[in-house]
C-alpha cells in the first residue's frame, strides 16, 4: 500500500473525527424522550484507525430492552450515512415442548424496567460500563474478530467490532441482548439465553435426564427483531427486494438471479434451495460513479436452519415480514396490551397495504431448540440466536484497500 494512500486515509480520518459529533448529535439528543415517554437515550459513537465510524442513540425500553436508533455508519473515506431509524428485539416466543401455547416474553414481562439486571464489573469483564439512564447501564465491549482480510502478497487487515450488551431476568432465565457493529459495517443483533433451569418434567418425550432427580424440560423459542431502515435519511424511498437464484432450465447448477421488489405488506419464508435473501436499499443514492448500484443492507438468512411451528401465532412461522412503519406497532405480538389503539401482532399489521413510497419496517425471526444437559445445572450455558445485516454496495469498492486495476 502506498504512502500516499495512508496519507489520504489519515487526512480523511482527521476530517471525519472533527465533524462526526455534530452530524450525529443533531438527531440524537441525550435525555430526549422516546415515543413511549418511558426512557431516555444517549449518544454512542465509535471510530477506528481505519477511518470507519459508527454513531447511534441507545435507549432502554420497558418491553424491548436495549434499543438502538439513528444508526449511522461511515466507511473509511466516506461520510456518516444513516442506516436505521430504530431497531430492537420485538418479541421472544418461548414454549416448553409439553405446553400447547407459547409465552410472549416481551409483552407479558418486558426486558426493561424492573426486569433489567444491573451491569456489574463481573458481568462486563474487559468492557466499559456506560450509563443509559440514571438507573440503567449497558456494557460496551471492544473485540478483535480475528477475521483477516488478505490477498496474496498484500498486507492483512484485522477487523474490529464494538458490541452493546444489556441483560434482563424473566422467570429464572436471563436474556442478554447484544448489538454488534463491526468496523466494516456489519450489524449483528443477538439474543443470548441464559439463567437457570426453572421447569422440570416427568415425561421422557418432553424432557432430558441431566443426572438430577428430575428431568429438565425441553423448549423451543423464536426471537423476532424489528428493523426500521431509513437508508440515507430519506425514510420514504427505501426499497425492499427479495433476491432468489432460480435454477436455470438447462441445468440445476446454473442459477439466474431473480430480484422481486416487495410492494405490499407481506410475510415471507426462506427458500434454502433458491438461496433467497432480502436487500433493503435506497431508491436514489449510489456510491459509485456509474450509478449502477444503490446503497443498501443485505439480510442473508444463513442462520435459518430451523423453522418454528405454531398453531396460534401465524406470523411466527414466517422468517421475514415487511410492513409500513407505524410508531405504535412495536412488538411482534401482544402489542395491544401496551398500545391499546394499535394492532396486536404482525398478523394485524401485515394486511396488504402498499409499502411503496412510504417508510418501511422489516421484521426477522429465527428459531432455536433448547435441549438441557448436565452443564445447565446450576446455571444454563448460554444459547445464542443471531443474524447479520451486511452493507451492500454501501461504497463503490472496498474502502479498506486501494483498488489496483
Amino acid at each position: 500500500m502506498s504512502q500516499r494512500f495512508y496519507l489520504l486515509m489519515l487526512v480523511c480520518f482527521l476530517a471525519a473525527i472533527g465533524s462526526s459529533g455534530a452530524q450525529a448529535s443533531s438527531s440524537c439528543m441525550p435525555d430526549e424522550s422516546t415515543a413511549s415517554g418511558e426512557s431516555s437515550q444517549i449518544l454512542f459513537e465509535r471510530s477506528y484507525d481505519s477511518g470507519a465510524r459508527w454513531s447511534m442513540c441507545v435507549s432502554i425500553d420497558d418491553q424491548s430492552g436495549l434499543m438502538v436508533g439513528q444508526v449511522h455508519y461511515g466507511a473509511p473515506l466516506n461520510e456518516l450515512t444513516k442506516v436505521l431509524d430504530s431497531a430492537s428485539i420485538a418479541q421472544i416466543l418461548f414454549k416448553y415442548d409439553e405446553d400447547t401455547a407459547a409465552q410472549h416474553w416481551l409483552s407479558t414481562h418486558g426486558l426493561g424496567a424492573a426486569n433489567q439486571l444491573p451491569v456489574t464489573a463481573e458481568r462486563c469483564p474487559d468492557g466499559q460500563i456506560q450509563a443509559v439512564t440514571d438507573n440503567v447501564s449497558m456494557c460496551v465491549r471492544e473485540q478483535n474478530l480475528h477475521a483477516l482480510t488478505s490477498l496474496r502478497n498484500s498486507e492483512s487487515h484485522r477487523r474490529r467490532a464494538v458490541s452493546l450488551h444489556a441483560w434482563s431476568a424473566i422467570d429464572g432465565f436471563v436474556v442478554e441482548q447484544v448489538w454488534e457493529f463491526s468496523e466494516d459495517g456489519l450489524i449483528s443483533p443477538m439474543v443470548r439465553l441464559g439463567g437457570v433451569l426453572s421447569r422440570f418434567s416427568g415425561n421422557d418425550n418432553y424432557s432430558s435426564d441431566i443426572a438430577l432427580e428430575q428431568r429438565a424440560s425441553h423448549a423451543t423459542y423464536v426471537s423476532t427483531w424489528k428493523l426500521d431502515f431509513n437508508i440515507g435519511n430519506t425514510p420514504d424511498n427505501d426499497i425492499v427486494e427479495a433476491m432468489a437464484f432460480i435454477p436455470h432450465q438447462s441445468t440445476a447448477l446454473r442459477r439466474v438471479i431473480n430480484v422481486t421488489p416487495i410492494t405490499t405488506e407481506s410475510l415471507h419464508k426462506v427458500n434454502r434451495e433458491q438461496f433467497k435473501g432480502w436487500l433493503i436499499r435506497d431508491r436514489d443514492v449510489s456510491s459509485g460513479p456509474d450509478r449502477d448500484t444503490r446503497i443498501g443492507y443485505y439480510l442473508d438468512p444463513q442462520v435459518s436452519g430451523f423453522a418454528y411451528a405454531s398453531r396460534t401465532d401465524n406470523w411466527s412461522v414466517f422468517d421475514f415480514a415487511v410492513s409500513a412503519a407505524r410508531e405504535c406497532e412495536k412488538l411482534a405480538s401482544g402489542n395491544a396490551r401496551h398500545q391499546p389503539d394499535c394492532g396486536d401482532s404482525l398478523d394485524d399489521y401485515v394486511n396488504g397495504e402498499s409499502v411503496q413510497n412510504t417508510d418501511t419496517v422489516v421484521w426477522f425471526s429465527t428459531a432455536r431448540q433448547f435441549l438441557p444437559k448436565k452443564e445447565d445445572y446450576p446455571a444454563l450455558l448460554m444459547r445464542e440466536s443471531r443474524f447479520t445485516l451486511m452493507p451492500f454496495d454501501w461504497t463503490a469498492s472496498t474502502p479498506f484497500t486501494p483498488v489496483i486495476e
Binding site: G172, V196, K374, T398
Partner: protein, 460 residues
Amino acid sequence: MKITRLILLVLFMGCYLFMHTAAADAELSCPEVNQISVQFDNGAAWGMCWDSRLRENIVLSEAYFQPADAEPYSVFSSLRLSQLHVTYDDSNVTYNDVTQFGLGAGFISTLTPDDCPNGTLVDIGGRAGLCYLISAEKDTYSTANESRQAQSLSVFSVSQVGAYTYLITWKFFDDGSVQPSVGAAGALQRSSDDEQSEFGRKLEGVPGKSWLSHTHNYYWRMDFDLGDSATDDIVSEINFNLDGDGRRARVQSQFNTEVARSIAPDTMRSWMINDKAASDVAPGYLIEPVNHGHRHVDKEKNAFTEFDFFVTLQNDCERFVSENAKFNPDCDENILQFVNDESLVGEDVVLWHRVSFHHVPRNEDRQVMHSHWDGFVMEARNLNVQTPGHSGAVADETRNALAATGTDASVDPIVSVGSGCSIAGGTGATQSPGLWLLVLWACVLRIRRAGHCHGWAKPQ
C-alpha cells in the same frame, strides 16, 4: 490429631498421584513441535497434535478435552476440512479446491505476528503457516447473580487458492464445544464480459463486466473417539414432532448402519454422538444444523449434495468427499459411495457435515473482499458434571421448580447424585476413584471445621 494428620497426608498423596497420572494419560504421540496444548482460566484444557498435508493442510489429531479438576477425555482421533466446492452460477462446473488444487504446501500464506496477536506462530515448511491463540468470548453462563466470560482456543491457517484466500479455523471452547469455520477472503475470481449477465451483478467502476454469483460448499470430516474406546461411540438423530395440540415430542433414533441424511427444518432435526450409549447423560456432542439458510443441491452430477450429514465407518483411505479416488486409488470416489450400509455397531465411526454459502458479489468485494464466515458448532454435552466454572449455588427458581415436582429441594441436588467434582466419563458408576478421594478429603476437612459432613462445600 496425629491420626487425622496421617489420613490427610495419605489422601493428599493419593490425590496428587491421581492428578499426575491423569496428566500422563494426556500425553500426545506426536513430536513436541506438533503439539498444541492450552489451559483456560476456568481450569479446563485442550490438547492435540497438528499436521499439515498437501491437500487438506491442517489435520488435527488426538484431540482431548480436560475439564477443570478432572482427567483428560479423548474427543477426536482426527479433524479436517475434507472438501471445498465452488460452483459458479453461470456454469455446470464444480471446482474441488481441496483435491484439484490443495490447501497445503505452496498454497499456505505466510502469517505475520500481526496476524496472530498474543498467539503462537508455528512453522510449516520453513515459514509461519499456523497460528494458535486464546481469545475472550461472550459469557459462558449468566444468571441474575453470577456470570463468567468464556474463552476459546483458535487454531488457524490461511491458504491461497486462485484469487480466494481461505482462513481455515478451528475454535475449541472452555466448555468442550468445538466450532470449525472457514473465512473466505481474497478477491472475486470470475467475471463475465456480459454486463447484463443474469448470473451475476454489475459492480461500480468496472464497465462491460458483471461479477458472477457462486456457492461455496464446505465439508468437514470428524473422526470422533469419545472416551477410552474408539469403537463404542453411538450416533443418533433427533427430531421434534408436532402433535395436533401443539406439543413437540422428541424422537431419537440410533443409527446402526452407515447413513446419509438431510436437514429437516420443520422438525428441528439434529444429530448427536455419545460415548457408549445414546442416553441423555452420556458424554457427547450435538450438531444442530442452524446455519442452513442455504443448501446447494446438484442431484444430476453430484448426488451426494442432496445430503448434509453422513456417518461412515472410519477408513483411512476415505479422506475426501469428492475426487477421493484421485489420491486413494484403492478406495471409492465420493462420500455417497462410502455410505454403503456397513454396520456401525462396535465400530469406529466418522461424521461428515457440510454447510453451503451463496456469495452474491457486492461493490465491497472489489478488490479485496471482506472475509465472510461459515461454519457450525459441535456442542459439548455432559463432558462436565455441572456448569463449568460456576460456584455451585442453586437459584431459588430451580429449587422451587424442583420442589413443585415433589423433589426435596432443601438439599443441593448435586450432592444427591454424588458428582461434585468429577468428570465425564459417563455415568456416576464410571467415575474415577481418585476423585472420590478428593471428595472424602474435602469431607474430612469439613468435619474438622464444622463437626459434620453435609453438602459438598458448594457456596450458596
